[in-house]
């Protein structure tokens, strides 16, 4: 009795701790102010840049991550553990470190950047840098989820498909990927959300230029020093997106088969 009361109190306190700050965002701005700040160039630029870059980086993550996850789920090879560890690294690496690392690699004087510079290619402080930073930090979210979903697909279906005349490629496209679909979509959504929220690596590697590298989190950071309404409006949009992401993931991961 006492125990269950204690649990209820702890639960209530914790939920309050999570929801109160989020609700506060909505309480500190009037609907009119919210709508009017949505027309401000700094907000609009950040919105469109964030959606474009997060979409592109998610597509890149899916294109590279799917084959990698499938190979690691299905084949045992020397160094698989190492590959797994490396693909997971960005999850635990502080974003500031990721940003600096990317700068050291692709910046104008970077390990690779210095050669790109010869051909007049500059990556640091461009929209490309924003995308690279997002790919770097968001890829593990998709790859982990994709690998886990591929592992749940019974190999028997793949074997049966082979005996029916399907090549390895056809098996992947017509059997394994469709059967793992829910997990792949939820992984892609999580990866998109992480890319959308990316701050640290972006500001270090891509800088903070409106319309070019200033994504929503960077715009929040910038506008809160002058125009709090714009900062709160952008935050509200991100809160709504986060809710949508969680619901979407819950819906697509409901098992169908």
């Amino acid at each position: 009795m006492v125990l269950s009361l204690l649990t209820a109190v702890l639960l209530a306190l914790f939920l309050l701790f999570i929801t109160l700050p989020v609700v506060s965002l909505f309480l500190r701005i009037s609907p009119e102010a919210f709508l009017s700040s949505l027309t401000e160039p700094v907000v609009l630029d950040a919105l469109s840049l964030s959606f474009v870059t997060a979409t592109v980086s998610t597509v890149i993550v899916v294109l590279f991550g799917t084959p990698l996850a499938l190979v690691n789920a299905r084949h045992d090879y020397r160094g698989r553990e190492l590959v797994d560890t490396l693909t997971d690294l960005p999850i635990v690496l502080p974003p500031a470190v990721a940003g600096l690392a990317l700068l050291m690699a692709f910046g104008r004087r970077g390990v690779i950047g210095q050669y790109l510079d010869i051909f007049g290619i500059h990556i640091g402080f461009t929209t490309i840098a924003v995308i690279l930073a997002q790919v770097f930090v968001a890829s593990p979210f998709y790859i982990r989820q994709a690998r886990a979903s591929f592992e749940t697909v019974d190999r028997l279906y793949e074997d049966a498909a082979r005996t029916l005349g399907a090549s390895r490629m056809t098996v992947a496209l017509r059997i394994t990927i469709p059967l793992a679909w829910g997990g792949l979509v939820s992984g892609a959504i999580l990866s998109f959300a992480r890319a959308l929220g990316e701050f640290g690596a972006t500001i270090m590697f891509a800088g903070n230029f409106q319309g070019r590298t200033q994504t929503m989190p960077l715009a929040i950071y910038t506008t809160m020093q002058g125009d709090m309404n714009a900062a709160i409006s952008l935050s509200i949009i991100l809160v709504v997106i986060s809710f949508a992401v969680i619901s979407a993931v819950k819906i697509v991961t409901r098992r169908k088969y």
């Binding site: 019974d154 279906y157 074997d159 498909a161 082979r162 005996t163 090549s167």
Partner: protein, 236 residues
């Protein structure tokens, strides 16, 4: 005609079998669980690769370590029915049956024609658009058989074909299966734990123990070997 000699090191023993099946003949493999019966089927259909040996089907060599031949499973033209049937759960009955034809890039009208024929032959017309995950054991068995036979395979491998079919339907399904095998006129290997399967489907019986063929012959002959512990319990 199928001729198999396959050696493969398994976890507990070395599988080493030699067997042959003529066209229109059904060979039944019996033996304890884990004796390597299903592995023999997997080696023939190409899901597993032998360490040594040679597998020849008709005039095609499917595997030979000496000649360095290893035809991939998708090109072997073998119908392999798995114990759980392995119907694709994200496809309808008709899509399951059409799968192999689509992989072979058969034109759509031909696929539709062949699939319809199979659905009729298997009494599955009403279930064509039903999701494969919703079928009973007997229905699954018929879909799996239709899915394999629509490709007109050169060899049929059946792993416990009636194990998931409920008892009452087994007798009818067994004679139906026997009819379809005979119609196909190709070599067929059946793995079973069921005495009636062995007697009614098999032209020849082959007893496998720890990866070796220990007895082979007409069902009556093999089942008369009561000194063997497995046969004694199998034949009751």
């Amino acid at each position: 005609m199928l001729a198999v000699h396959a050696v493969r090191e398994l976890r507990d023993f070395v599988l080493d079998v030699t067997l042959s099946v003529r066209s229109g003949e059904t060979l039944v493999l019996i033996g304890e669980n884990g004796s390597g019966k299903s592995t023999v089927l997997n080696l023939i259909s190409g899901i597993l690769t032998p360490d040594h040996g040679e597998i020849v089907l008709g005039d095609r060599t499917l595997f030979s370590d000496e000649k360095k031949i290893g035809i991939p499973p998708e090109s072997r033209k073998i119908g392999h029915l798995f114990q759980s049937y392995a119907l694709f759960p994200h496809m309808t009955v008709a899509e399951n049956i059409a799968f192999g034809l689509r992989c072979r890039k058969v034109p759509r009208p031909e696929i539709a024609f062949s699939v319809t024929n199979q659905l009729r032959a298997m009494n599955l017309v009403d279930l064509a658009d039903v999701n494969a995950g919703r079928l009973s054991g007997g229905q699954r068995q018929r879909v799996a058989l239709a899915r394999a036979l629509v490709l007109e395979p050169d060899l049929l491998l059946l792993d416990e074909p009636l194990a998931a079919v409920d008892m009452r339907a087994q007798t009818a399904m067994r004679s139906e299966l026997r009819g379809r095998i005979k119609d196909a006129g190709i070599p067929c290997i059946v793995v079973t734990h069921n005495l009636r399967d062995a007697l009614e489907l098999g032209d020849r019986l082959c007893l496998i123990e720890e990866g070796k063929v220990v007895a082979e012959g007409a069902p009556g002959e093999v089942l008369a070997m009561r000194e063997n512990g497995f046969i004694a319990s199998f034949a009751g």
